[in-house]
Amino acid sequence: MEEILFNKPGKKIILLGNEAIVRGALEEGVNFVSTYPGTPASEIGDTFFKIAKKVGVYFEYSTNEKVALEAGIGASFSGLKTLVAMKNFGLNVALDALFPFLYTGTKGPTVIIVADDPSCHSSAQSEENSRFVALATHIPVLEPSDPQECKDFTKLAFQISEKFKIPVIIRTTTRVAHQSAPVELGKLAPYRTEGFGAGFVKDPKKFVTLPPRVLEMKKELLTKIEKIKEFSEKSKINQIYRLPKSIDGSSRVGIITSGISYLYVRETLKELTSHQDGGGGLPVLKLGFFYPLPEEKIKNFIKNFKKVLVIEELEPHLEKEVERLAKDVNCKLKVIGKDLIPEVGELRPEIVISAIAKFANCKLKAKSGRSSSSRCDSIIENSLKTELPCYGSEGEEEDLSSSPIENLKLKIPRRLPQLCPGCPYWLVISAIKKAVDLKKVIFGGEIGCYMLFGNSPINLQDYLSCMGSSVGIAHGIKKATGQKIITFVGDSSFFHAGIPALINTVFNKSNPLIIILENRTTAMTGHQPHPGAPIIPNGIKIEEIVRACGVKNLKAIDPINQKEFVATIKEFLNKKETSVIIVQRPCIWIKK
C-alpha cells in the first residue's frame, strides 16, 4: 500500500488499474473523493479509505452513488478537485444528478470513474454498457486500456475538466480495472496539511438551472463540446498505429478499436506478424476518447479503405458512429463489427484473433488471389472448436456441465459461489424453511451476498433486480395479487435505496413481510462500512428508521434464536399491514 505513495518520478511499480486511477488523482492533487462501493470499481474507494488522512484528501463512502455524486458536485462548486467512483449500475442511480451537472459545469475540476463489467463477473441485473451516458448527457468519456493509461487518462481528464469546466468520465471495464502491470510514476502533488481554502461563491447564473436560463446553458454545453472535439482531434490518446510488414503499401483495410479490445488487437497482430503474412500489417486506430470522437481523424483514417473492422465489447456504439462518418467521406466503405464480434459477453484474445483472421483473409483473397493461410485457419479452428467453461451464477445446469474440451468426454461439474461457512444468513434460510410452505410464498431477492439464495440447494429467490428493488417490487406484487411474499433486503441496500420503497409500502398500504438482513457491512463488495457499521461512532439504527416510517409490526431478532424467529415469520406473514423483521447478526468477517 505504501508503494502507491512513493514520490519517485520515473520509477515503475506494479499497480492494479483501479490503484493507477488513485495514483493519477494523487499526482493531480485531488482534494475530495466520494464513492459507493461496487465491483469492479471498489478498490478506488478502498485505497482512498486507507490513505486519505495521510495525504490530506477528504474521502467518504456515501450511502449511494447519487448522493456520492451530489457530494462531489458540492465540492466542485466550492472549487475543489473532485473524484467520484462507481460501478455501472451506480451511474444509473446517479444519472438524475449528472444531467444538470453538465449544464452548470464544474468549478473545481471533476472526474467520474464508471466501471462496466462485461460478462457480469461481479454483477447481477444486466450487462450494462455505460457508454450511452455520453450520448445522453454530453459528458466527455475516456477509455483507458491498461493501468498506465488508467493513471495517464485520469490526469488528462482532470486537465480537460479544468480547461473546459466540465465533468469528465473515465470508463473502465473489469479487465482494465482488475488488470495489473508496471506503471511509471509521476510527481505526487504536495499533501495538504491544513484545510482546502475552499469557498462557495454565489453565482446563480452558473449554478441555478432554472428556465429559461437552462436552455442557454444547454447551448453553452454544446459549444463546449465543439471545443473539446477540436481538442480530441489533436489529442495523442487517439492514435494510429501503422504496424510493420504491411502486405502492400496502400493498405485498403484497417481496424478501429479502444479500451481493452485494443490490447487483444495488438496481441493478435503480434501473433499474425510473427507467424505469417496477412493481418500483422493492418493499420489500427486506437481511440482514447469515446466522446467526443475525433471525427476528422476517423474520416481521414477510413476515407481510402474498402473495409474497416470495428472491435468493441457489447453494443456497437463505435460501429454506428463509423458508419455515420463514412457517409461523408467514403459511402462505399464496408463497416464490419458485430458480424464478427459478439454483442454478449466480454471479448477474449482468441475471439479477436479469430475475427481479425477472418477479416484479413477475405482481403488476401480479394487482393492477391492467395488462399487463406493455414496458420489463420488453425487459429480460427482452435477458437471455435472449444467452449469456454462458464463460471457465472446465472443460468441453469445444462450449459454448465458441458465439457470445455471436445476430446474430454468428462462432465465437469460447475462450482458456484457459496455463502461462507458460518454466515448468519444460513440461520435465516433454516428459519424460513421451518416457518413456511416454500411453494406458497414468493421470495424477493436483492443485490448482496443473499442473492446467492437463488442457488441450489437454497432456492429462495423468485425475482432479482436492482438495489432497493426487492421491497418496491414486493409492494407491486402484493397490490396485484395479494399472494404471500417475503422479501429480503440487506442493510447497505436498505440505506442505499430501500428506504423510499419501505415508505411507499406503508403509505400505499400493502403487507409484504420485509426481512432486513443487518450484517453491519457491505459484505459482497468487500466489507466496506455503511452508516450502521460498528466502526461508525453513533451509527444510524435501522430499527429507528423502520419505526419512523410507520411500521407497526416490527421485530429485531438475533437469528440464533430460531424458535422466536420462526414464530415471528409465521405471525407477521398473516398481518394486514406492512411487517418488518430486522435480522441482527454481523458478518463473520467484520471486527466487532
Binding site: K12, I14, T39, P40, S42, E43, H121, S122, S123, A124, D146, T174, R175, H178, Q179, S180, A181, P182, I260, L263, Y264, R266, E267, K270, E271, R348, P349, E350, I353, N382, S383, T386, L388, P389, Y391, S393, S403, P404, I405, N407, L408, L410, I412, P413, R414, R415, L416, P417, Q418, L419, C420, C449, L452, S456, P457, M524, T525, G526
Partner: protein
Amino acid sequence: MDKKVNQFNTLIVGTGGQGQITLLQILTEAALIEGYDVKTSELHGLSQRGGSVEVHIRFGKKIFSPLIPQGQADLIIGLEMQECLKACYYANPKTNFLINKYIVPIPLEKILPEKEILDNLKKVSKNIFLIPAAEICQEKLGTSVVAGVYLISLSSFKNLIPIKPTSLFEAIKKIIPEKYLELNLKTFKLASDSEAVK
C-alpha cells in the same frame, strides 16, 4: 533458464479463498525483478465467494493482453484438482501442469475420482506433476494454507517457470505481510528441500 523468454503464460486455478491473488502478486513482482514486462488479470467480488477462481500472469519482452489466449498457457498451477479440468481450455500438449493433490467437493455434485481427472488431463498434456502440497505443508508447517506458495516456489526450483528462486524469494518478502512472512519463507525453504526437486 538464464535466457530471457519472449513470453511466458501462467494460469493459476482453484476455488475462492485459496490465495490466488497473493500468488499472482508474488509472481508479478518476481517477473518485474527479472526485468520482464508483465500483465495480469484477476476477478473480485461475487466470483470470490467459494466459486471457481482463475488468475492470469503473463510476462515477457512486451505483453499486451492481460488474458492468456486459448491454448497458450505454458504453466498451469492447479490448487484444486477438479478445477484443472476447466483450465484445459488454456492448455496445449506442451503445457506443464503443477497440481496440488487436493480436492474441494462441490455441493450437490459427485466428487470426480483422482484417476479420472488425471487420465483426462493426460489427453491434453503428458507433463503433469501431481504434488501433495497441502499434505506436505500441513505435516511440516502445521497448515495447508501455504500450499500455493509451496507450489510456485517448486515451479521455480523445478525450472517450470523462467523465474529464478532468488527473484521469487525477494518477491515473497515484498508481498507477504510481516505477520505471515516467516511461515511463507519456511514454505519456500521446504520447497527447495523437497524430493520433487531432486
